[in-house]
Symmetry: C2
Subunit: 166 residues, 2 copies
């Protein structure tokens, strides 16, 4: 799962679509204005979202896009997977055990990245579009149960100064 800003923009746009869901199609132009994204870029994004079955399009005047499923049934992970195609593996990456050389056995860190990918996917699939627009995200989702093994310095509590890929 690649977490580029493209994916983030797609989630923003989908959240916007969900909030303005009134049964009538929503124009990309409207979303572009509200979210301050370029129309051309949104077209590119929604092309993928439509092919991924997340939205339906209505052509012609009065057309636009509609959520294919309800916002409560649309998971964030679906959105991310729809816009960011998996990726080519560099060295050791989940999905490409052949990249794990250093003889035949899987490289030591393979399981680590695989499990991390799993964690991220589990988190993103536990959150729906509806959760996002209702601001029901923080703390609502499950938390890692295992505590840090040894505290070396400073406190862990909140590390919101994190990010994933520029």
């Amino acid at each position: 799962m690649k977490l580029s800003s493209k994916a983030r923009y797609a989630v923003m746009a989908m959240a916007d679509l969900a909030t303005h869901d009134s049964g009538r199609p929503v124009t990309l132009q409207d979303i572009a204005d509200r979210q301050e994204l370029s129309l051309s870029y949104l077209e590119q994004l929604f092309g993928r979202l439509r092919r991924g079955g997340l939205v339906n399009s209505v052509r012609g005047p009065g057309g636009g896009y509609l959520l294919a499923r309800s916002s409560g049934e649309t998971r964030i992970s679906d959105i991310v997977l729809a816009v960011d195609e998996p990726l080519r593996a560099t060295r050791c990456m989940p999905g490409s055990p052949q990249g794990c050389r250093t003889d035949k056995k899987r490289c030591l860190t393979h399981d680590l990245w695989a499990e991390l990918g799993n964690q991220i996917y589990l988190f993103l699939s536990s959150v729906t579009l509806d959760d996002v627009v209702a601001r029901r995200v923080l703390g609502s989702s499950g938390l890692i149960s295992a505590p840090p093994p040894a505290e070396s310095a400073g406190s862990v509590e909140d590390r919101s100064d994190l990010a994933l890929r520029h």
Copy 2:
């Protein structure tokens, strides 16, 4: 937290260092040979790791690098943070609420990415180098508690075909 391949290489190298921890310094050349990484690149990586207090260096003949703390006390998150400096915020990113425009209120997806960053950090700080070399990663760590809200198609169970940043 940026998860570049630089960070992955650093974790690989640290895992290698941990496995060959015999009290005597390990040369970068040895690690380079075993992990098939270039010496120059490793030098760059270990410069940061040393400045981050994760390893100690010994110069001169017979020199090399040593783990500053035991492998059980070295968290993966420490390694990643040492090697990948935080980042500059693009639009909405944790740590930069000012990027969340669309008037004054934080953008809808802000909390989502913040919480995701937190989840990743929590996971990576729950795993030590020792866990990695002992292959004690899979399933050992905590799992997200909240289940996916609605299953649309296919099963979720294992999504190891994920990755983070090329």
